[in-house]
Structure formats: structure tokens, C-alpha cells
């Protein structure tokens, strides 16, 4: 199984969730993160002193999927999260060794 970590723009969460739901991916975990990359932070001013805020708000999506839908999910994610503007984010795919559903103890693909 694959553990897919996607860093996206905050307002793209809803389209991504909807797009994944359409292909039957109905589980995921999200959190607020801050990112820094080609898109740099913004200059802010506070009481006459300018300074750079290096990080920008992003959403991190973590979703575990079966190996054979991995590529499809990647595609969907990329499409749904894309604005074409700098700062759209990245998707990282990691390998999962094992999964357990806490409620039932099921493991593997059954656990998702």
C-alpha cells in the first residue's frame, strides 16, 4: 500500500476531497501546515518595521491507498489541486508496511 502525502493550497481541499470521493477514496487525514518553496512568503509590516514571513499556509493531506489505485489517485490529486500558479504544492508517495483499523483490528487493504 501507499502512503500519499500531498501539500496543497488551502482552498483546494474541497475540490480534492470531492474528486477523491468520486473514485471511492473516502478516508483521509488533513492538517494545517506551513510551506516554503519556490513560492516565498510575503512581506508584512508591523508598527513600521517590515519583515518577511517565510512560510505560507498550506494543507497537508495524508491518504493511504491500495497500490493499484495509487497512480490514479496521484493523477486525480494533481488535477484537482492544480491552479497552475506557483505554490501549488507537491505530492510524496511512501510505502506502507502495514495498516490496522483500530476499531476492528482488520489489517491490510481491509483496514482502509
Amino acid at each position: 500500500m501507499k502512503y500519499i502525502i500531498a501539500i496543497i493550497k488551502p482552498h483546494k481541499l474541497e475540490p480534492v476531497r470531492d474528486a477523491l470521493a468520486e473514485v471511492g477514496i473516502n478516508g483521509m487525514t488533513v492538517s494545517e501546515v506551513q510551506g516554503y518553496g519556490r513560492q516565498r512568503g510575503q512581506r508584512e509590516i508591523y508598527r513600521g518595521a517590515e519583515y518577511e514571513v517565510h512560510f505560507l499556509p498550506k494543507i497537508k493531506i495524508e491518504v493511504a491507498v491500495d497500490d493499484d489505485v495509487g497512480d490514479q489517485v496521484l493523477e486525480i490529486l494533481q488535477e484537482a489541486a492544480k491552479t497552475g500558479q506557483i505554490g501549488d504544492g507537491k505530492i510524496f508517495v511512501l510505502d506502507i508496511n502495514q495498516v490496522v483499523r483500530i476499531r476492528t483490528g482488520e489489517t491490510g487493504i481491509e483496514a482502509l
Binding site: 488551502p10 482552498h11 481541499l13 474541497e14 488533513v30 494545517e32 506551513q34 510575503q42 512581506r43 508584512e44 509590516i45 508591523y46 499556509p57 494543507i59
Partner: protein
């Protein structure tokens, strides 16, 4: 306010209060009492500026909180300055049954007539400054109403420019019609403390602004769904409501304009009671109605309900008995619960519910006057509501359109997405708390 020949109405009984001379209030004391009433009423209404600021700061999303604070502080400041530069004299100087007073006439206090040696002091008089101060804070209220409705998407400076026009022209002109002793006053229109003159006026200007500005991005989806955008801080909204409730004692109470006689003391007291009962009625009725309709109690609606009660009683806080005042406020509270989703359905995006509270209940309150005050007639009340509604709608539409076509009034999409705080101020309201500006 500024009613000539105001009758002494206490409860529903008209009496003439004349104490035996030895016990009476001296003219000078009466003058001081009247002035003091204005000063106390004035600082209480000034405090309402903080109430609007907190209410609105609580009901917008995090990313727009600092901007709404900027707006509320600066609109108050600007309204005061405009009032001094031209508003006061436009509303009050030489209206004489007509349509407006003096244009572009700077106000400055002049109490020499009172203070010269040997002057005969009028026991219904008061110092010029206290009157100016009290009237000034009313203008600011009108301007505050608008800021809540158009929040989260309007640009700062165009909004402030509108405030200049509202405080310098629109408010004082329509105000002159009634409180300045203009044609509506002559016609017999009754609006004790401004359900129509202050609240509906603010409401109309807000409504026109909301229509011209359009809703926030994503607020109404193409498939007809309404997306709520919950406010960032319920306790701040609650605080704001309590502040407004407190300020309203000044708003309505000091609109009696005098405290220098027994009758006035009684009247001001009854106004305090009725104002409070109407707010209580509005809050309770909004609570019960939301529970009945939605199965859940909605805090923001209860807050709106209390304010609705206050707006509803403002046109006539003196003549009702307390139980009637409670009922008038209660109707206001119920109205607001239905008005808010109604405007949603019309895709009019009113961030804080100001149109429902101030316009809808301002109209209701004005229409309710004849219920308890025989001096009012329904037809004249309708005339006043209509005349002021048309004038404010047209004049604000002109102002909003002029701003829209010249400098533009709306943030561009990207700025709206990241929030007006970052876009216009380059800062955040809560830099260490939640980063996301939306529930996901």
C-alpha cells in the same frame, strides 16, 4: 429627539408636571441636568462604536478581523469629523420645515447667550457642546451599520469614502427632515430615537452596498447551495452585543433630551425600562424561534435578536408599558430569525445580519409607534419610512456606483482569498492562532 413641543408622555398618561415653585428645579439646575443627560447619553452611545467593532470582529473570519477593526475605528473618527465639518449644521441649522439646513458650515460651540451676565436661562436648554456630542455619536452608529454588511470583500478606502458621504450628506439631510424640524416633522412623523432615521438609514445604505458589491466568493454556489462562513469568535460577538445593549440606554434614554423636570426624570426612567425589556424580549424570542425552527439554538441569532428588540423599540421607547415593550422587541427578535435566511435566499450577502436587524426591525419599530402613541398615524409613519428609504437608497446607490466605477470597491479575488488583513494591512489579527481561514 429635537422635538419641538414634545408632550410629556409617561406610560400612556399625559400629565403636566408642575411642582410648587419652592420645590421646583431651578432653571440653571435644569440646564445642568439636561446637559448631563446628553453627556452621559453621549458617552454611552460613543461606546456603541466599540460594540459594533467587537460584534463585527466576532462575526467575520479570522483573515478579515484586523481590517474590520480598522474600519470601525476609522469610520467612527471620520463620522465625527464630517459631523463637525458639515453634518451638524446641515441637519440642524435653519431647516425650518424644509429639506436641509446649511451646507458646508463648520460647527463650533456657542453658548454665549446662556453665559452672559443676566441671561434668562431656559430650563429646557442645554449646552451646545453636549447636544453636538450626543448627535455626533448617532451618525457614527449609522455608519457602523454599513460596515458589518459589506465586510470581508470591500476595499478599505472606498468604504471610508462612502462613510464620508453618508456622514456628511445622506444622514444629515434625511435627519433634517424630522429631527432638524423639516417637512417630515411638520407632517407628524414620529421617530423618537431613530428606528428609521438612524437604523433604517444605515440598513438601506448597507443593503444597496451589498447589492452593488455582490456576495463573498463561494458564499452562494451555482447549484443554489448556501455556504455559511462562521464567525471567528463568538465571545467577541457576545461582548459586542452587550456593549450595544448598554449603549442603547444612552441612545434612547438621552433622546428624551431633558432631565430637568420630574416628568423628564420619569420619562427617562421608563425609557430605560422599555429599552431593556425590548432587548430581553428580542433575545428570548429569537432563542425560542431558532430552537423551534432549526432544532438548535443559534447564538448569533440570539445576539441579533437582542439587537432587533432594541432597534424595534427605538422609534417609541416611551409610551409603551413594559410588557408591550417586551412584545414589540419580541416581534423584532422573531422577524430577524426569518429575515436572515430570507436575504440569503435572495443571495444578498450580509456578513453580520445588519440589514435584518437594522432595516427590517427599524421599519417594524417605526410602524409600531401608533400602537401606543396616539400622536402617530400609520400613514404618516409609512410616508416617513418610504421617503427616507427612497432618498437613502438612491443617494447611496449613486455614491456606491460612483466609487465602483472610479476606484473600484471590491478586493480582487486573490486578495479576498487570502483575506483583507494580509491584502490591505499586511498583518494578521491573530498571528499565532489558526492559520486556515476556513473550516475544512
Amino acid at each position: 429627539m429635537k422635538l419641538n413641543g414634545k408632550k410629556l408622555l409617561v406610560g400612556a398618561v399625559t400629565v403636566s408636571a408642575v411642582s410648587s415653585p419652592a420645590l421646583a428645579v431651578s432653571a440653571d439646575s435644569a440646564y445642568i441636568f439636561n446637559t448631563l443627560l446628553f453627556l452621559i447619553g453621549g458617552f454611552l452611545v460613543m461606546w456603541m462604536a466599540a460594540g459594533f467593532a467587537m460584534l463585527e470582529a466576532g462575526l467575520v473570519r479570522t483573515k478579515n478581523v484586523a481590517e474590520i477593526c480598522v474600519k470601525n475605528v476609522s469610520l467612527y473618527a471620520i463620522a465625527c469629523i464630517m459631523w463637525m465639518l458639515m453634518g451638524y449644521n446641515l441637519m440642524y441649522s435653519g431647516v425650518d420645515g424644509g429639506y436641509f439646513g446649511q451646507f458646508f458650515s463648520l460647527w463650533s460651540p456657542d453658548d454665549t447667550a446662556t453665559l452672559v451676565e443676566g441671561a434668562k436661562v431656559d430650563p429646557t436648554g442645554y449646552s451646545a457642546g453636549s447636544d453636538f456630542f450626543f448627535q455626533m455619536v448617532f451618525v457614527a452608529t449609522t455608519a457602523s451599520i454599513v460596515s458589518g454588511t459589506v465586510a470581508e470583500r470591500i476595499k478599505l478606502f472606498p468604504f471610508l469614502a462612502f462613510t464620508v458621504v453618508l456622514a456628511g450628506l445622506i444622514y444629515p439631510i434625511q435627519g433634517a427632515w424630522k429631527w432638524g424640524g423639516g417637512w417630515l416633522d411638520a407632517a407628524g412623523f414620529q421617530d423618537f430615537a431613530g428606528s428609521t432615521l438612524v437604523h433604517s438609514t444605515g440598513g438601506w445604505a448597507a443593503l444597496v452596498g451589498a447589492l452593488i458589491l455582490g456576495p463573498r466568493l463561494g458564499r452562494f454556489s451555482k447549484d443554489g447551495r448556501i455556504k455559511p462562513m462562521p464567525g471567528s469568535s463568538m465571545p467577541l460577538a457576545t461582548l459586542g452585543t452587550f456593549i450595544l445593549w448598554l449603549g442603547w440606554f444612552g441612545f434612547n434614554g438621552a433622546s428624551q433630551l431633558a432631565l430637568g423636570s420630574l416628568g423628564d426624570a420619569v420619562s427617562v426612567s421608563n425609557i430605560f425600562v422599555n429599552t431593556n425589556m425590548a432587548a430581553a424580549g428580542g433575545a428570548v424570542s429569537a432563542m425560542l424561534v431558532t430552537k423551534a425552527v432549526y432544532k438548535k439554538v443559534d447564538l448569533s441569532m440570539i445576539l441579533n435578536g437582542a439587537l432587533a428588540g432594541l432597534v424595534s423599540i427605538t422609534a417609541e421607547p416611551l409610551t409603551p408599558t413594559p410588557i408591550i415593550a417586551t412584545a414589540i422587541g419580541g416581534v423584532g427578535g422573531a422577524l430577524v430569525v426569518f429575515a436572515v435566511p430570507f436575504f440569503d435566499k435572495l443571495k444578498i450577502d450580509d456578513v453580520v445580519g445588519a440589514i435584518s436587524v437594522h432595516l427590517v426591525c427599524g421599519i417594524w419599530g417605526t410602524l409600531a409607534v401608533p400602537l401606543t402613541n396616539d400622536a402617530a398615524s400609520l400613514s404618516i409613519q409609512l410616508l416617513g419610512i418610504g421617503a427616507i428609504g427612497i432618498f437613502v437608497t438612491i443617494s447611496s446607490a449613486i455614491a456606491w456606483f460612483a466609487l465602483k466605477t472610479t476606484v473600484g470597491i471590491r478586493l480582487d479575488e486573490e486578495d479576498e482569498e487570502r483575506g483583507s488583513d494580509l491584502a490591505e494591512l499586511g498583518m494578521e489579527a491573530y498571528p499565532e492562532f489558526g492559520k486556515g481561514s476556513q473550516k475544512f
